[in-house]
Symmetry: C2
Subunit: 126 residues, 2 copies
Amino acid sequence: MLLRIEFESDIPIYMQIKNQIIEGIALGMLKEGDELPSIRQLASDFGINLHTVKKAYDILKDEGFLSVHRRKGYVVTKNASADDNFIEELKKDLQPILANAFSRGMTEDEILKICREILEQFKNGM
Amino acid sequence: MLLRIEFESDIPIYMQIKNQIIEGIALGMLKEGDELPSIRQLASDFGINLHTVKKAYDILKDEGFLSVHRRKGYVVTKNASADDNFIEELKKDLQPILANAFSRGMTEDEILKICREILEQFKNGM
DNA sequence: TATGTGTTATATTATAAATATAACACATAT
DNA sequence: ATATGTGTTATATTTATAATATAACACATA
């Protein structure tokens, strides 16, 4: 599992880590039972603080993507489900992004094509 | 054009304003030439600061959704295009959101259905 | 000339993100 | 037993971003 952090990005570091781990799971690069690097290890690799990594991991734990074992550390656990609550959040997240694309003149088909391409990656486990 | 601000939201106020104006354009509620409330007016309506509103408006101006006239104030101008640069950003924005949905077990069809529903709103100008 | 637009500048406060350090709890390899 | 490597908790500090507060200015036009 390769992580890269863009320090110049406007996306907070803990969010980049969180997002990339979810993407790793979606792509099949991270499977149930896989152990993640320890918070100290990852922090050290990137020259960032232990708490920044822990924040990302803890959010993923709360959401059901990770669980934690005393000795093994954080482990992939796919307990996150797409309940009604999540669907609502999903719509709220997508709404402004799709509105932006549509307002710039993209057609429904053009926009859906991009969504399909991204989802295709996940299905094929690239 | 009705705006609502959620002060408890984790989304910054200027971002909520920005997003809702883009959604207004996507929904056809805001059309080319429409004048927005003045920054002082909108700030006063919501009990927020003039600069918070200006920040939102200025971003929209930079992106080509608004232009500004000395007397009329900020006006809807659809100069925002979906160039290669935007498409790249769009993919980057969609990637983590779709990964999240997919990792929770949603199928491609289920996810695309939600995208279609949102886009349908825009096409029908709800 | 008064009024209502946006603009610019400066300072301050509030909140979130990230860091720095230290000490602790727990499992297990040695 | 003890050392080591996990995560955990606590506290304080620094940095960056968001939001506010005030004031003065430029411009168009009624």
